[in-house]
Amino acid sequence: MSRARLSRYSLWQFRDFAIDRGIAIVIIGFLLGYMTLEPIRRTMGAAFGLGAASPTWPLVISVASSVASLAVLIALNGMVSTDRKMGYYRFLFSKPVSPVAYYAQLFFVYMIGMLIAMLILSGVLYAVIPTFKIANFLLYAAIIYIAMGGIGFFVSVATRFDWVTLAAVWLGSRVLRDVYGPKPGWQSKAVEVLPPVHKLSTVSQSLITSGTADKSDVLWLLGYGALFFALGLLLLRRGSLAD
């Protein structure tokens, strides 16, 4: 009964995503792609549309994966923390609703919304580069949503400043890994437990280009995100909604 009620409410959650975030993701993603790739397309002409055979292909991959990362940040921003900050939780959860189930559903509704936004943007890219594989890109977007989004979800439950914290964790992991990863000693082992940001570039390259990627890299990314998503749910269950 409660589950059926909550799944009906997912339509409202999707509507909120579309209005508050989906449109913004499409506009920002389009602008980013257009401003970066259009000048190159004009210069290169037909050679630009060759896909993986084009010398500009790594740049296309880089822009596409950046748009996906940005989309995750926009989608996840304030997912839980806004309700807590603004006090919206008070009326929502005086109803017979579990916050854990509510936000778990919200996470996946937003994932669907983000993938639809990525579908629209990759459709535009496909019109310019017919060899661009939409399905490959959507698969990558889904993986990055779980990997980055899982951590973002946890951060949104744990802190009010979620997108700043997530960006800091993401960037910090990258920098620490670059600095300490190659060095011998305990530091190189310690950075292994940081979010696997470094795996994203190799996964995005191979997944968007060929639809395949190193299985262990993908599992590491998904596992890391899933673990933090589960920790976020646990924190919701055990912690307080009010401050």
Binding site: R5, L6, Y9, M86, R90, F91, S94, V97, A242
Partner: protein, 319 residues
């Protein structure tokens, strides 16, 4: 189920509904400073009871309610509703809750906000429009139903908050500062609504600064200060109550007789006198004596309600 002493409206022992058992809440900052918002708070609320919670600003009223709804975890003690941990009860059954801060997404429309809450409350989809229309009509929001929440005035927002709490027939209602921002007409209307909501199987908690409101609506009032329960006051008049109370008497005639019945009466002008008595019995005996001497009494008004007097004493003691 445990039972409580009878409430003023019920001759049978009331079933225990809400129980705060030795509850404490301490907030700790990152710097290690701590503030005790609630301390060793124990209280039982029975079925069919309207319990008021009164206290000055920062007394801990809202913290108590947040713990009762499971939004905050107590640092010590437990809060149970019908034998279940508070949060579990709310997740399983829901409560009608009006918070002090009306926080509804400002982009939502008033009627769709209610439809969303109705869906979460478990009202069948086909019945949602009827429930929404009923509360909109009850709270006089017809002309505002299509407005966005951000376009509503403070009073209308308060009414919308109350409307979402009344969407479903809840067994427990929790109203935190319910008349805050309401005009006098809607304040009175709110009181009528609460009277209509009184039911033997419904428990209502009202937290308010407004002692007059609690005196009128509540069966008992828990007075809290500095996070501690100071006392629980029954709002009914107790004929055995011995505390000295001042009343203002208005006489139409027989002014010259007043001091024969009330030797300490002080003239307050316009035919009014302030008298102090030690009990309701003494007041009635003196009034009967005065009237037997031919005086015509127009009104007898306590200078302070029982609650106000107890509140002043309790807060004074805790300072």
């Amino acid at each position: 189920m445990d039972s409580l002493p009878p409430t003023s409206n019920d001759s049978h022992p009331a079933a225990l509904v809400i129980e705060f058992r030795n509850v404490g809440k301490t907030y700790r900052s990152l710097l290690g400073n701590s503030v005790k918002a609630v301390e060793e708070f124990s209280l039982q609320v029975g079925e069919g009871e309207i319990l008021g919670i009164a206290g000055p600003n920062g007394a801990g009223k809202t913290t108590l309610i947040a713990m009762m709804l499971g939004y905050l975890r107590p640092t010590t003690g437990t809060v149970q509703i019908k034998g279940l941990p508070a949060r579990r009860y709310v997740e399983q059954n829901g409560v009608g809750y009006l918070s002090e801060l009306i926080a509804i997404n400002p982009k939502w429309r008033a009627d769709t906000a209610l439809a969303r809450y109705a869906m979460l409350a478990g009202i069948p989809e086909t019945e949602i429009p009827a429930h929404v229309n009923t509360v909109i009509e009850k709270l006089g929001l017809e002309e505002h139903r299509n407005k966005k929440v951000k376009a509503l005035s403070k009073g209308n927002l308060q009414r919308l908050g109350l409307a979402q709490a009344l969407l479903r027939e809840e067994e427990i209602l929790v109203l935190d500062e319910p008349t805050h921002g309401l005009d006098p007409v809607w304040t009175q209307r709110f009181r009528d609504i609460v009277e209509e909501l009184r039911r033997p199987d419904r428990t209502i908690l009202i937290a308010s600064h407004n002692l007059d409101e609690l005196q009128r609506l509540a069966d008992r009032v828990a007075i809290i200060d500095h996070g501690r329960l100071q006392r629980v006051v029954s709002t009914g008049y107790d004929q055995t109550h011995q505390a000295a109370t001042r009343y203002r008497l208005t006489l139409v005639s027989g002014h010259e007789r007043i001091r024969e019945s009330f030797p300490e009466a002080e003239e307050a002008g316009k035919g009014e006198y302030d008298v102090t008595v030690s009990s309701i019995k003494e007041l009635n005996a003196a009034l009967a004596d005065l009237m037997s001497r031919g005086a015509l009494v127009a009104s007898v008004v306590p200078e302070r309600s029982v609650l106000e007097q107890q509140f002043r004493e309790a807060i004074g003691e805790s300072q």
